[in-house]
């Protein structure tokens, strides 16, 4: 295929244009995501605390009586350091329980703990919904669930 010099230059420029279009597009996507993440972080700071756990019996842990623990949409409770809320009581398992916000409701889920998770004195199996004022017991620690006040 005999191409004239000007055509060769044009093809070269078009090749560069194709790569540029692909990568400028991807770069704009990255910037959009960055903006969105920043907006999200701002919104999270402004959001009111949606639920808390209040310590009503600290067991052998270093928590103090009456201390309010704010809940995140997924809050992991247990003895090991990876948890959102670390409960340093010998009767608490390393990954003990999880409190999650699902469809506008709070649930507590036992994560296979040795001594179990108790809601109002009875051991739960798997997942249980939480009502305002419910008493959670993990090991020797007892916590009162207080949802968001309107």
């Amino acid at each position: 295929m005999p191409l004239e010099l000007s055509d060769e230059v044009a093809v070269l420029l078009l090749r560069v244009a194709i790569v540029a279009l692909l990568y400028v597009f991807l770069f704009s996507l990255v910037r959009l995501t960055q903006r969105e993440l920043r907006g999200q972080a701002g919104a999270r700071r402004m959001a009111p605390t949606q639920g808390r756990l209040v310590v009503i019996d600290r067991g052998a842990s270093s928590k103090s009586l009456g201390q309010a623990i704010p809940l995140e949409p997924v809050t992991r409770l247990g003895r090991s350091d990876e948890n959102t809320v670390v409960l340093d009581d010998d009767f608490v398992s390393s990954q003990h329980a999880m409190v999650v916000l699902k469809d506008g409701r709070w649930w507590v889920r036992d994560e296979g703990s040795t001594n179990g998770t108790l809601v109002n004195g009875s051991r739960i199996r798997g997942e249980a919904p939480l009502e305002a004022g419910d008493e959670l017991q993990l090991g020797q620690i007892r916590l009162r669930f207080v949802p968001q006040e309107h």
Binding site: V11, V19, L22, F25, R125
Partner: protein, 427 residues
């Protein structure tokens, strides 16, 4: 729902149209033709179509995700470039399917009264999907001599029911897990440290899975069977939060060994994957030609129109990345992979903000389907995994695949529009 200026989307939509115009201009110069009218028509049609979709979304689903349509537009533009480069005679047909796909997208986003309406009739969808697959087994045709009768013919257009099964399966599993997920993860059965799921609740899921699996293996559509199984695992994990994935992978290995011993064509696929070179002229011809194309492309590529993609069999469907790899180089293929990553990111982002458990699982399942499908075929092209003939979403030539992928995007857009706190239009 509602109206809203979607300026982010509008500004991003410039890129796919620009890409298509620049690529078609390159092809015209290389071929020595001066702007063939059919090419101009496709570029104008493509731009008009994206603009129409944009106007429709602004009018009806103002809060929907704004990056999804531009990402899909980029992939579709690359698909049109590939088909125009490789099989120009098929380009108008591909364009027709894209128009139909956009219509399906609008239909999906518009017709559904509520997204949860899909969940209510899950057994209807599942039965309809299975009936379609059964119909393919009886009336199936093989229009392009691929060796498998996976298509249903209708007035010159061919449709692949296993494609629509993807959406049906995701809808069914998502609605089932949304309702029963808590029960399934409840786990009352325990043997030592092993937690067994309550079997009665898992049984319908397993039955549904086994049925579609049997149909697919019967039809020898192993790529689709692999995709369905992995999507099923992803949804089970997303729906229950329990690590069934480990058990599922053991089942996958067992399934692979069984398939390997039972089917000759599976043995062949594995053999030419591990060592294609002795059979480079026979069974492994396609793989070796594909690898050669990637190698010839190098980092910068040979340039559009300068490659020898015609030597790769099925290059416009299963091996479309090989053609792009040769002519756009590593730099082009990396951009394609990044586009699929961006697509999955948007889908999972939509899932995280979904208004209900069903909508969340639906979006996550659709994202997993698109992403896993891309991984399975891209990995096959690059000889990372054995090659299974499935399409590269939006990029491969193939009508039913394009149509169904657009429906999936329609569902994702709809879910994102219903999110309670969708800040998508706050630019």
């Amino acid at each position: 729902m509602g109206r809203g200026w979607r300026l982010v989307e509008l500004s991003l939509l410039v890129y796919p149209v620009g890409l298509l115009a620049v690529a078609f201009a390159t092809l015209n110069i290389v071929r020595g033709t001066f702007w063939e009218t059919s090419d101009v028509r496709i570029v104008v049609l493509f731009g008009a179509l994206l603009l129409l979709l944009h106007v429709f979304l602004s009018a009806r689903l103002g809060a929907a995700d704004q990056a999804l349509l531009p990402i899909v537009g980029m992939l579709v533009a690359l698909g049109l470039i590939a088909v125009n480069r490789l099989e120009p005679s098929l380009a108008p047909r591909q364009a027709l399917w894209i128009v139909l796909g956009c219509a399906a997208l609008v239909g999906t986003a518009l017709v559904l009264p509520r997204i949860d309406w899909l969940a209510r009739y899950r057994y209807t969808w599942a039965s309809a999907g299975i009936l379609l697959l059964l119909a393919t087994m009886v009336f199936g045709v093989d229009p392009n001599a691929s060796g498998t009768r996976l298509w249903l013919g209708f007035g010159g257009l061919y449709f692949q029911p296993s494609e629509i099964m993807k959406v049906v399966m995701v809808t069914f599993f998502a609605s089932y897990l949304a309702e029963k997920g808590v029960l399934i993860s409840h786990a009352p059965l325990r043997i030592g440290r092993v937690v067994l799921p309550p079997l009665p609740y898992l049984a319908p899921l397993a039955a549904m899975w086994a049925l579609s699996m049997a149909l697919l293996i019967w039809q020898r559509d192993l790529g689709a069977a692999l995709l369905f199984y992995l999507v099923f695992l992803a949804l089970l994990y997303a729906g229950t939060g329990r690590p069934y994935v480990g058990v599922g992978l053991i089942f996958l290995i067992v399934g692979a060994i069984v398939a390997y011993t039972l089917f000759d064509h599976v043995q062949l696929r594995a053999r030419i994957w591990l060592d294609p070179w002795p059979e480079a002229q026979e069974a492994a011809y396609q793989i070796v030609q594909g690898l050669t194309a990637f190698a010839a492309g190098g980092i910068m590529g040979s340039g559009l129109g300068y490659g020898y993609a015609e030597y790769v069999p099925a290059v416009h469907t299963d091996f479309v990345l090989a053609a792009l790899g040769e002519e756009l180089g590593l730099i082009g293929t990396l951009a394609v992979v990044a586009l699929y990553l961006a697509l999955m990111h948007r889908a999972f982002r939509i899932a995280l903000r979904a208004p209900s458990t069903f909508a969340m699982l639906l979006a996550a399942g659709l994202g997993a389907t698109l992403g896993l499908q891309a991984i399975i075929i891209l990995g096959g092209n690059l000889r990372l995994i054995p090659i299974t003939g499935i399409t590269l979403p939006f990029l491969s030539y193939g009508g039913s695949s394009i149509l169904v992928n657009f429906i999936m995007v329609g569902l994702l857009l709809r879910v994102s529009a219903e999110s309670p706190s969708s800040g998508g239009n706050r630019a």
